[in-house]
Symmetry: C2
Subunit: 323 residues, 2 copies
């Protein structure tokens, strides 16, 4: 098969790391002997739930905002997201001192609307049933001459996300496997580029919710497969298709894509709260759930696991952990 | 006033740090701009909730077990504790390959009994209403010729706990204040020794539950004041008196003791879960609650805050955060 030309290189990830130095948190890498026993491996958890704005998304958002040409920058950024990318862009724009417009569903959780507004962004609400958020964002970008930064299908976003795996490999040492959650493919493709450059023998594995395995289908079909909005508690992975920038990178550098069920996500969330004292949102549990339930036979080897985020409303968290 | 001779020096803390190297986790120091805004200071949280067995207690337990003379060691250790010290001693004994007997109340939470047994310790259950746990532990130590390691009133325990502040000062840099929870005084006295040696200008402040301010009373009276078992959700600080080893150290090196109420602990627990993605037990919130509610006017300065532990049953956590 003809390999598609990739739009992101490891040099882009390294440059993003420079930009993020002193701006993003260098999140800790934690371990747990109990987790190791469950997984049959030595696990190294990269805690992006402890990142600014509560998720890895700040990395890509800040990198992309930094790379807007000076001539366009002051007019600001626009994006569409109901989740962590919204807050990440709002925070990155606020740090850059430029306006941000976020297209969010009317029925997004009040806490997410409040957090996004708290960073000073303007919110444009839309109706999930009748309106298309991408078209609204594109129209705003066109009319106001703002730069659109989509959540994952963008080279500068991918390069920023790759810095998470770069730090993990620097801090944990050599890894045999790297497990990364898969929604639109921004984090997975960025991390795969970093792992390929820094740990060439490391097998990178994407982890998706069972109910929304469009990424697995696309990976196997070697072309983008679109599905209906999947029903899963992993709200950050309720994407309907991976990105055009992301899939070629996945096809080049990712070893496999596996899936986990919602019940396994809840078990992982409980494990994190009870044993590792961490709050992890359902999407953030994807990679860990695959490790803890041995979706892959690791043979006692060294496995990196990215915890992607921790943004969950407290009443929802309470419901999941009350048991 | 004549200063009492202290039973622990900074050299003891430094030696404990050597023993703990590679055995205890070097827990991360985290920061949060939202926390800083609430406190009017720059806060540096030392996350001992991420320590092995879920609390700082492992430091002192491991140090004390390591220092048992070779002639006595194989006969094992005994202690009395319903909480984190029990698990810490059980784990430390297990790592040393020696037996451990833990005197625990019959009505201790099933999860704590299970965790302690999980580390291989023998549990002797007693009735809180009719029996004295200290006498039971002393009798076992005498009869079986085992070494008794109490939860806080012991120089080797104090030296081990001081390593938490040593690491915090190494990682955070200079601090103007250091806030530490106060139950029996093991963590506070150990940390005060380390701060005095490494950051002489740093004001060390103990934080107690309002309902159980025996430590504050003792600090002011300059002698040990005993109270009835206090009613507070901070179960790790339901001690009735500080230790004889601990008070002289507190009187020499601690600047003040302040108190916080249970409602302030719950607010801090919610803040940690929602904003910092951390599970912190009520006692672990004491120092942070004092900072977040500005019990001290920090004037924008640099403040270390020790998060002492994260062991809380999930249903109880769920109840507190459901709101």
């Amino acid at each position: 098969m003809q390999l598609a030309e990739l739009q992101v290189s490891y040099a882009d990830v390294a440059a993003a790391a420079q930009r993020l130095q002193g701006v993003a948190h260098r999140t800790p890498v934690l371990s747990s002997r109990q987790a190791d026993a469950l997984a049959g491996a030595r696990l190294f958890f990269k805690c992006e739930n402890l990142q600014r704005a509560g998720a890895f998304k700040f990395r890509g958002a800040y990198n992309a905002v930094s790379l807007i040409p000076a001539s366009d920058k002051q007019r600001g950024v626009v994006t569409h997201s109901s989740g962590n990318h919204a807050q990440a862009i709002a925070l990155a724009a606020s740090l850059a001192g430029i306006p941000a417009v976020i297209v969010m569903p009317k029925d997004a959780p009040a806490s997410k609307l409040a957090a996004t507004r708290g960073y000073g962004a303007d919110i444009v609400a839309y109706d999930r049933e009748t309106e298309n958020r991408e078209q609204i964002a594109e129209a705003i970008a066109r009319e106001r001459n703002m730069t659109l930064i989509p959540p994952y299908d963008h080279p500068h976003v991918v390069a920023g996300q790759g810095t998470a795996a770069r730090e993990l490999l620097e801090d944990a040492g050599p890894l045999d496997y790297l497990l990364v959650c898969l929604g639109g493919g921004g984090l997975l493709s960025g991390c795969a580029i970093a792992a390929n450059a820094l740990a060439p023998g490391c097998k990178v594995i994407g982890v998706e919710p069972e109910a929304g395995n469009d990424g697995q289908q696309s990976f196997r079909a070697k072309s983008i497969v679109e599905i209906a909005v999947p029903a899963t508690i992993a709200d950050g992975a309720r994407t309907t298709h991976v990105g055009a920038v992301n899939l070629p990178i996945m096809l080049r550098y990712v070893h496999d894509v596996v899936t986990v069920g919602d019940a396994e996500l809840i078990s992982a969330m409980r494990f994190f709260a009870e044993r590792m004292k961490l709050v992890v949102e359902p999407t953030g549990c994807l990679a860990a759930a695959a490790a803890l339930t041995r979706k892959v036979d690791f043979g006692g080897k060294r496995v990196g696991v990215v915890i992607s985020g921790g943004n969950i409303d407290l009443p929802v968290l309470a419901k999941f952990i009350a048991g």
